[in-house]
């Protein structure tokens, strides 16, 4: 496995913010909101975090992999995408759709 890209497996992410807080480069931005879900048979509705946006700023990322290590749900993983190049900084910020692991559509 090449360590050339950090991919987000969106379904596994619980918006717990651990990666955002542990990132030494402060390159991850995460936005989420909470909804109450009532499951059948449950006494009380439970609060669930819904991921709204997840951005990695690859102009700041130093590929240390701390976010991958701290993620308790394995929602972040090394991937074989190529490293990015761009002529402007905005293009270096990748969101959920760009962060999908290679092989998934």
């Amino acid at each position: 496995m090449k360590h050339s890209f950090i991919a987000l497996i969106e379904d596994k992410c619980t918006s717990c913010m651990l990666c955002v807080r542990e990132c030494p480069a402060w390159c991850i931005n995460l936005d989420s909101h909470t909804v109450e879900v009532t499951e059948e048979g449950a006494r009380r509705p439970k609060k669930v975090n819904v991921l709204d946006s997840f951005d990695i700023d690859y102009s700041l990322c130093m590929y240390c992999g701390v976010c991958i290590d701290v993620c308790p749900f394995d929602a972040l993983a090394w991937d074989e995408h190529r490293a990015l190049t761009s002529t402007n900084r905005e293009d270096m910020i990748l969101s959920i759709a760009d962060l999908r692991p290679s092989g998934s559509s």
Partner: protein, 165 residues
Amino acid sequence: MNRVFTWQQVAPDQWRNKISELIDSGFFYFDFLTGVDRENIDGQADCEVVAHLAKPDLSDSRIIFTQVKSELASIADLAPASSWYERECAEMYGITFTGGDTSPLLRHEGLGRPPLRKSAVLAARVLTPWPGGAEPEIREDGRKVGNVSRRRQRPPGVPENWLSP
């Protein structure tokens, strides 16, 4: 080449003796000297000074370290190569090497805390908004109705009173 590094601690007042003893016994290749901020070791010391000396064919080497408050005798006369490292260490960790070259390497005088000490606050960390401070919001129909509030989070390396000046 796999070499096992031998670490040895010495008292600060034995620092020069130990170095000269090592140099006399063939470890006269001076590799490096650096500091490690340990932040208050038993109320006695703040920093470790670490030096690596080796035999010139690199067949054997010794790493010796000592715990100091802020002063240590210079070994620049015993191992001239250490002079540059001592100046660097003095600038970055604020350790005074008595009897050595005290001219600054990079920093101007009066620039606050030595930058590699843990007590030195990075101003950029205070001025940049921390993405980790966000908490999930409770929304209804896209409207924010509340915060899932926990203890207010603080970014690592930023002291408490810096967030609300």
